[in-house]
Amino acid sequence: MNFLDPRVDYIKKRFEKIDRVIGVSSAKGGVGKSTISVFTSLLLKQKGYKTGLLDLDIYGPSTHIILGVGNKKLKENFGVEPLDIDNLKFFSSIFFTDNKPFPMRGDELSNAILEILTIVNWDELDFLIIDMPPGFGEPTLDLLRLIKKIEFLIVTNPSIISLETVKKLIQTLNEGKYKILGVIENMKSTEDDLIIKSCKELKIDYLGSIPYFYDIEAIFGNVDTMIESNVSLYLDRILNKILT
């Protein structure tokens, strides 16, 4: 079709009201993107920033589990309003999927993402944290295309397998001259410096590490405990580096 899709420009307009858009990415799965997205947005709102959290992992949404949010009906107001969780604005596709499987091909996924970016009314924000899915498909390509000011917070664990994919992401972002805030090494349990060394080689900021916490899931769902947790302690030091 050669008709004008009004979403493309409207998304740009919506995002003008958001100061900083941070994509939490790694291209690799299971490294802690969702966990770090949630804790990051909780810490930012705790510091008084107007903060939003958008779960764009539509095949495998997880942030609602970490936050302990069930199905809710969202209010409508120039689109739909994100859920307000004690001042954190939160949107996940689960509000429309009844938490059912949502299999679809990439062009449909892209359409769903554009629709979400169009209709969710974040209003003014200091930070929008976007929890990204693994891979190099539509979610990443559409954000790169639509939100040029997006900054990337890259997450890896201390594994050669994750590192391999993370390197590819960094290469792609560098080539497109996108802003990379740096790398967080999550689930660190030894003094191994594989990731630190690789960051040096790649000329990327190594922002710090978060230890492997055996029982991390025990605090999921309890926002206050999460903010007071050791995870937050470590993450807070890291975030201070990117808040300047």
């Binding site: 079709m1 008709f3 004008l4 899709d5 009004p6 979403r7 420009d9 409207y10 307009k13 409508e76 107001n77 120039f78 689109g79 739909v80 596709s93 429309f96 999927t97 009844d98 059912k100 499987p101 949502f102 299999p103 679809m104 091909r105 062009d107 449909e108 996924l109 359409n111 769903a112 629709e115 979400i116 169009t118 209709i119 009314n121």
Partner: protein, 132 residues
């Protein structure tokens, strides 16, 4: 009424297009509406006219081109009409599709083979066709 956001998006694009076309006044706006989006046309129309007030679009005639939705199954090749399947859904399911049309993949199956793997051929999305 999330139709307000969609109307706002259409107005935004119409103003841009008017600029590109060098128009100082717009009289007609042609909008293509896919059946799947299940838009409340009255609400949409009202939102459009409210948002257009004070712009060069004010008082434009809105011409809606409503497109029937058809789907094609990637598994068995069957082409099917959306409406028949849609009518079987609950109000909540219909509302989800209204907001995010791709949720059809959750609530609808190919009536021939039961597959989840189908695509829209047409009838999805809201587009600005033209302005005059």
């Amino acid at each position: 009424m999330h139709e307000w956001a969609l109307a706002d998006a259409i107005v935004n694009s119409s103003l841009k297009l008017a600029k590109d076309k060098g128009l100082s006044k717009v009289n007609e706006i042609f909008i293509r509406i896919g059946e799947v989006n299940n838009i409340d046309i009255d609400a949409f129309n009202f939102a459009l006219s409210e948002i257009m007030k004070g712009t060069i679009l004010e008082n434009s005639k809105i011409i809606f081109n409503e497109i029937q939705a058809n789907l094609k199954c990637n598994n068995c090749g069957f082409i099917f009409n959306y409406k028949n399947e849609f009518d079987k859904l609950s109000e909540d399911e219909k509302e989800s599709i209204h907001f995010i049309p791709e949720t059809v993949h959750i609530y609808i199956r190919c009536p021939n083979c039961g597959s989840i793997d189908f695509d829209f051929i047409e009838g999805r999305g809201i587009f600005l066709e033209d302005i005059k």
